[in-house]
């Protein structure tokens, strides 16, 4: 049997080598069987969650607890965005606090300086954030992995510096005070119970939209380009466009959260929108779980509750615990907290096949140079 191998040359790196060892796009639609059932179950979960979230003010009147829940909703919005960006499209951003900052400052300045209606300010600030996201995203999303992380980190720092340095506009480190609250049909949302319902409605809309995504043309395109941009583009997917689009959406979600925050606390200053928050958001998204959008709920909940439990708002301490949690979750709960209940109940295989296989490196066929004529 003649072999073709003798003409072989060193190396056979073909531009299509697979990125080995990379964390894959979680477990979107992992199960083919029982998909209808899981869809129904997902809808039921969403309905129940919405019902509970929206009716809390009926039996909870303690304004301290209500404020924690409001912060939960506000934290949930950017986490959903990051869940889509990181979990579905596989693109990291370490600058998302800047978009929250843009939303907060946009709302604050448009209302206090230019006397705009707060809702109009929320909208315009989101538009501004979207524009900035396009400007940043076009060059940054060409980068991959660490480079994209660094680029977005740099962007976050620049925004923070601008917020501090443009004193004439932003008030510098003093921040902006007397931001008007939102209003709805003549009712002021300064009432924590009304605010609760409105902010949670907004967060739930975002959650619903995000939950709808994976089983659609766009959602599949994101999952596909996450796994392999080459194959995705060879199937007609405009990779750059889809990455930019989800980046912009996540920026808008973050911006709206910032606006809600500004109109809720009525005072903002730059220090809350730094790298610490950006990192915390990513950590929260990862701990919550990237395999499903529900991970964002777990992550945001943890981000809000943990500092309450751990001595009041000591950021460094919180970050430390979050860092440890990320490590623990990465090792023991590849699907994040969202995957924990099923895992603890033993409903899932101990290690998803793909995770196990990936940790052993990609299966690259041993293409024998054998001639089988």
């Amino acid at each position: 049997m003649p072999r073709f191998g003798q003409g072989e040359r060193a190396g056979s790196a073909t531009g299509e080598a697979v990125k080995a060892g990379e964390v894959g796009p979680g477990g979107w639609e992992r199960r083919g069987r029982g998909r209808a059932w899981s869809w129904a179950r997902g809808n039921l979960a969403f309905l129940l969650f919405s019902l509970v979230a929206l009716t809390v003010p009926l039996y909870l009147t303690n304004s301290y607890y209500l404020s924690i829940l409001a912060f939960f909703a506000i934290r949930l919005m950017p986490t959903i965005g990051l869940n889509l960006l990181l979990g579905q499209a596989g693109q990291i951003s370490l600058g998302h606090a800047a978009f929250i900052g843009l939303g907060a400052y946009g709302s604050a300045l448009l209302t206090t300086r230019w006397g705009l209606d707060p809702w109009a300010a929320v909208f315009l600030a989101a538009l501004l954030s979207a524009l900035v996201a396009v400007l940043i995203g076009v060059p940054a999303l060409r980068l991959k992995g660490h480079y994209l992380a660094m680029a977005t980190l740099g962007f976050g720092e620049i925004v923070l510096i601008l917020l501090v340095q443009l004193k004439g506009l932003t008030g510098g480190t003093d921040g902006v005070v007397s931001i008007p609250p939102l209003e709805l049909g003549g009712w002021s949302l300064a009432d924590p119970r009304l605010f609760h319902v409105v902010v949670w409605s907004a967060a739930l809309i975002m959650l619903r939209m995000a939950l709808n995504l994976p089983r659609t043309r766009t959602g599949r395109a994101l999952i596909a380009l996450h796994r392999t941009e080459i194959a995705a583009s060879s199937l007609g997917i405009d990779v750059a466009f889809h990455k930019l689009q989800v980046f912009v959406v996540s920026a808008i979600f973050a911006s709206i959260a910032g606006s809600f925050l500004a109109h809720y606390v009525m005072f903002i200053s730059p220090e809350g929108f730094g790298v610490t928050l950006s990192v915390l958001l990513v950590a929260g998204a990862v701990i919550g779980g990237l395999a499903t959008v529900w991970g964002a709920v777990w992550g945001a909940g943890l981000m809000v509750l943990l500092p309450e439990v751990l001595a009041r708002y000591n950021e460094d301490y919180t970050l430390l615990v979050f860092g440890l949690l990320v490590i623990v979750v990465m090792i023991f709960l590849p699907e994040g907290l969202a995957g924990a209940p099923a895992r603890l109940l033993g409903l899932r295989r101990t290690l998803p096949d793909t995770v196990a296989r990936r940790s052993q490196g990609e299966p690259v066929e041993d293409r024998g140079s054998e001639c089988r004529s």
Partner: protein
Amino acid sequence: MPVLRVEGVTRRFGGVTAVKEVSFQVHEAQIKALIGPNGAGKTTLFNLVSAIDRPDDGRILFRNPIRTGDAQIDLARTSPHRASRAGIGRTFQHSQIFEELSVLDNVKVGRHAHGRAGLFSAFLTLPRQRREEAAAEEAARRALQRAGLGDKTEIEADSLPLGERHLLEIARALATEPGLLLLDEPAAGLNNEETERLAETVRRIRDDGVTVLLVEHDMGFVMEVSDEVVVLDYGEKIAEGSPLMIRSNPEVIRAYLGEDYLAEEEPR
């Protein structure tokens, strides 16, 4: 009028010239094989034709015979998603399936360019989104059927054996409705019976009017399915012709087996 005209294409990687002034044509509804020893530049050429990579020199002109009226495009100057939309479909030598999706959803990704529902429709599950989803599913099932994977739709893609992974890539590429299908070593890892079935599948695809350009080391397969063969060696085209001619071409034998072998015995 040829479907594909590769004209004087060169691609260098640093000091290595992976493809050197290669020219050939592929005609409509033909199965053409591209063969050559390891590292000859076959995959590099595929990457150039699918616009994943750009040549340093030369033109790659493509005219989709399926969608008449489509203008000719130079694949050397376009992007991969545009090449796909123009009618280039391809599979990969090293499996590039979307492992976290089901087999069916992998193929649905191939319907991407045939849908228009965007992020907004997706977020709000607008009627258009549902309509397109149903259409995509039907088309994906048909593509799986054509590739011979009709019974595996609901399986998770990452549980497919190697040979079927390649069939999945074929189905996925077929779902885009290509005019030219590029197959990079489709018979890798298949046993004789599976190879035979693959040959059948490829011929059927050709008979449906899809032009096929394939890279394969399995000479039995190449001789059986291809209408014409191009041989590359060290990036250069050293021969082109019918399978029979190629089999007895001394240049080809030398490239594959070295001078010594030629002196010793004639290969079968």
